[in-house]
């Protein structure tokens, strides 16, 4: 096994920046705004300087600012964002980028823990800040996590059943056709994990200022933003690998991979701008009603193909 997968976090960060630019741009165009521009005409230089790397500049700005730590916060307030970033970096090792990844027999299970660990770290860090908004956001996040993990796990395990493996590299393929239920379920779970619009309940700015990250500022918030950017890439790439991958090699593999990633992120951007926000009880009820049923369907579908037919 090569050590090529070590560049995965770097790719995750760089492409994650571009993906968040794409999200912003599409969101702005749907809202009939201009958004960050790709190329700035010289006449605009004094008016608008947002451009393609704007998400990166935002993060750099955060790293240049002072960090305020609340008096009542415990040391976990500082440790948790770093742990979350660590989880995201480790998770990026396990997600194949054009087939390059840390190929481990139980890779899928480890990935589950890492994705969950990232969310838990953010929750712990937020709650220890002592802010009420963070506590309410944390409670909401845990409720979402509890209802969302089951469909996510069942949806990915449906693929594991059809391919008889737990290694992500071996179950890659164009599974959108072979198991469409699993594809829908995993896509919905990714929306919840990324806090895309109907499910951004834990950081609803009009209700609880910015939820878990209310008290974070400066470099710690910058770390959380880097984590967010990497998580966008990790989850989008996971979806592209599991459902939109066509086995290929060399330059073709990168092309297939990035077209899958692009397609998924465009879908996510559309959902993000075309929906309002659920209330927490509506969201949990909807998650129990639709993705859970679909995920059971996906498992039944997969086992039927494998064991019956």
């Amino acid at each position: 096994m090569t050590l090529l997968f070590l560049i995965n976090p770097l790719i995750a960060f760089c492409i994650g920046i571009l993906l968040s630019f794409l999200l912003r741009k599409l969101n702005a165009r749907i809202q009939s705004r201009r958004g960050p521009v790709v190329r700035i005409p010289p006449a605009w230089r004094d008016i608008n300087r947002t451009k393609i790397l704007q998400p990166l500049y935002d993060i750099l700005k955060l790293f240049s600012k002072n960090t305020f730590i609340p008096e009542k916060a415990s040391p976990l307030f500082i440790i948790a964002p770093v742990m979350a970033l660590l989880c995201a970096i480790l998770a990026s090792f396990f997600v194949p980028v054009a087939g390059i990844s840390f190929d481990y027999t139980f890779g899928l299970v480890v990935l589950f823990y890492l994705l969950m660990g990232e969310i838990l770290c953010v929750i712990v860090g937020g709650i220890t800040s002592g802010s009420l908004f963070a506590v309410i956001g944390g409670v909401r996040e845990i409720e979402l996590l509890l209802t969302n993990e089951i469909p996510f796990i069942l949806g990915t395990f449906a693929l594991a059943i059809s391919y008889n493996t737990l290694s992500i590299n071996e179950m890659m393929g164009f599974n959108l056709i072979s198991n469409p239920f699993a594809a829908v379920v995993v896509f919905l779970s990714i929306l919840v994990k990324l806090h895309i619009k109907p499910f951004d309940i834990s950081d609803a700015e009009s209700e609880i200022v910015s939820g878990l990250t209310t008290e974070y500022s400066g470099k710690l918030l910058g770390i959380l933003e880097v984590t967010k950017v990497m998580m966008i890439f990790v989850l989008v790439a996971l979806f592209a690998d599991l459902f939109l991958w066509v086995p290929s090699s060399g330059l073709m593999a990168w092309l297939v991979f990035f077209s899958g990633v692009g397609f998924t992120s465009v879908l996510i951007a559309l959902v993000h701008s075309l929906f309002g926000r659920f209330k927490i009880d509506q969201a949990t009820w909807w998650l129990l009603r639709v993705p859970l049923v679909l995920s059971v369907f996906a498992v039944v579908w997969a086992s039927m193909w494998r064991y019956v037919l």
């Binding site: 009420l132 609880i208 929906f275 309002g276 926000r277 927490i280």
Partner: protein, 525 residues
């Protein structure tokens, strides 16, 4: 030509008869609009209770007037009889020093909660003349009925994303359910009504416009109507129709933004952006008519200031044509979104009894099926001569209130088109000059986008008003809002606030015209 609004009907009573008289009027079906005091000098502090009869069309306006001693200004509270007087009496306590006996909740609403401590704790008794505020930390925390409960308290404000304007909404929360809520105002208070007494009538018009950015036409129109009532003049036809056109444009602009903000508060920012895009056409046509986008300054005593020519009307009509296409399309998009409507259905249910008890006005009352609209109840401008109707919904929840606003926008478009046709062919007379202003009192009510606005102006023959009293629509509606928030969930609170569409600057009677240089401390250039 439309009739002038009904003048004020004043009944003088003794101070100890207030309770019985008020309950007598309430039993006859009156609604208490406001209560306010004026320091009248020798006769004592004059206290007015404003009533209206909503069932009668045109409605009768009635004032119960009483005088209390200036040295010992004590009056019996009427809040135990009707909740509609609650905030008005709290305002009297704070701004006039009237001691309202037996008021159930006599805390400060506008002044800081520890106002008394600021003066009394360290200053010696005789040093009240220096009027210097004691800024040291107070000996005991200000009395607050919410913080003493053993629940977690969630503050909204003074600055919070759900409320664009500054106010302080405190909620004690138990597991996402709001058990108790209280509101603190006064972050924007600039005592506009006092400032109005020092400026002449023409400057007051501009000051009135600055009270609210959304309903500035209504504010200046109501003030002008009150003055026209004192001067006893008739406004030309073209001015009346232009005022109607301006008022309806303002209603559209406010309602579309309120609906868009409703989307933003439920996380649907796309709809806010589209609302702002659609609104541009209205702002453009307002700019064509008055020269300014937000504060128009076109209404004056006796008419309007600049002419609206047929060329203007042509441009406005083309804009209205665009709006007739884009506005229903926008509403359809919004109503087709299940996530958005799911948040609104069955939240913040305001029953008819509660709405009447707190004296709700405007779209909030009409969303509960109460047929109250000042444009119909006491017609002003040209509303009697155009074809329109009051819009009510019977579902009583936030969705009904939003639907009332949506249908009112469409109705306003209809009214605007009629006004445009009349203005094009109306005689060119714009203004009836006010030559002399006799002593007297003028009282006027209009219907801004948010509800009922009333102005009470008294003239003493000089070039400045004797006093001005005004009550904005947000004033009773926010009182209803607090009641709706109690018992709801945290996720519902922004939706309820959005459906009530409060304008706290109005309630504070703000004016901030800061032309000074903005200094940023700690920044580097």
């Amino acid at each position: 030509m439309s009739k002038r609004q009904a003048a004020l009907d004043v009944t003088e009573i003794k101070a100890d008869e207030v309770g019985t008289e008020v309950s007598k009027l309430l039993n006859q079906g009156a609604r208490m609009m406001y209560a306010s005091g004026v320091d009248a000098g020798v006769p004592g502090i004059r206290i007015d209770y404003y009533f209206t009869f909503d069932e009668e069309i045109p409605s009768r306006n009635l004032v119960l007037r009483t005088y209390v001693n200036r040295k010992r200004p004590i009056i019996e509270s009427v809040t135990p009889i009707t909740t509609q007087a609650d905030w008005a009496e709290r305002e009297m306590i704070e701004f006039l020093g009237v001691q309202v006996k037996n008021h159930p909740d006599p805390r400060h609403l506008w002044l800081p909660l520890n106002w008394e401590d600021m003066y009394s704790s360290t200053h010696p008794k005789g040093d009240t003349e220096s009027e210097r505020i004691n800024t040291s930390p107070t000996a005991h925390p200000p009395h607050d009925n919410i913080f003493s409960k053993h629940l977690s308290v969630v503050p909204y404000g003074p600055y919070h994303p759900a409320l664009i304007e500054s106010n302080y909404l405190k909620m004690s929360v138990e597991d996402e359910v709001v058990r108790d809520a209280d509101l603190k105002l006064g972050f924007n208070h600039r005592s506009v009504i006092k400032l109005m007494e020092r400026r002449d009538y023409y400057k007051d018009l501009f000051l009135a416009e600055r009270i609210c950015g959304f309903c500035n036409v209504s504010h200046s129109m109501t003030f002008a109507q009150a003055v026209e009532q004192i001067a006893d003049i008739t406004v030309p036809k073209k001015a009346l129709y232009t005022r109607t056109l301006l008022g309806e444009m303002e209603r559209m602009k406010s309602h579309i933004l309120a609906i868009g903000l409703m989307g933003d508060l439920t996380g649907f920012r796309t709809m806010l952006m589209h609302a702002i895009r659609i609104r541009e056409e209205i702002l453009d046509s307002l700019e064509i008519m008055s020269g300014q986008r937000i504060s128009h300054g076109i209404i004056t005593h006796g008419g309007i200031r600049n002419d609206v020519t047929p060329v203007h009307i042509d441009v406005i009509k083309s804009k209205l044509k665009n709006l007739k296409k884009s506005v229903p399309e926008y509403f359809d998009q919004l109503l087709a979104n299940d996530v958005f409507t799911g948040r609104l259905h069955k939240t913040g249910v305001l029953t008819v009894d509660v709405a009447k008890k707190f004296g709700a006005v405007g779209p909030i009352a009409r969303g509960s099926g109460i047929r109250v609209d000042i444009r119909k109840n006491s017609p002003y401008a040209a509303y009697e001569d155009v074809d329109w109707d009051v819009i009510t919904e019977n579902d009583r929840d936030c969705f009904a209130r939003v639907k009332v606003r949506m249908r009112e926008v469409l109705m306003s478009l209809h009214i605007c088109e009629q006004c445009c046709d009349v203005i094009r062919s109306a005689p060119s007379e714009l203004i009836t000059p006010v030559n002399e202003l006799p002593c007297g009192e003028g009282f006027s009510r209009t219907e801004p986008p948010r509800g009922e606005l009333l102005y009470h102006v008294a003239s003493n023959g000089t070039n400045t008003p004797e006093f001005v009293r005004l009550r904005v629509p947000t004033y009773p509606n926010v009182r209803v809002m607090i009641d709706l928030i109690k018992g709801s969930e945290i996720g519902d609170v922004p939706v309820i606030i959005g459906s009530v569409d409060p304008c706290f600057s109005c309630a504070d009677r703000v004016t901030v015209v800061n032309q000074g240089k903005v200094t940023v401390s700690g920044g580097r250039r």
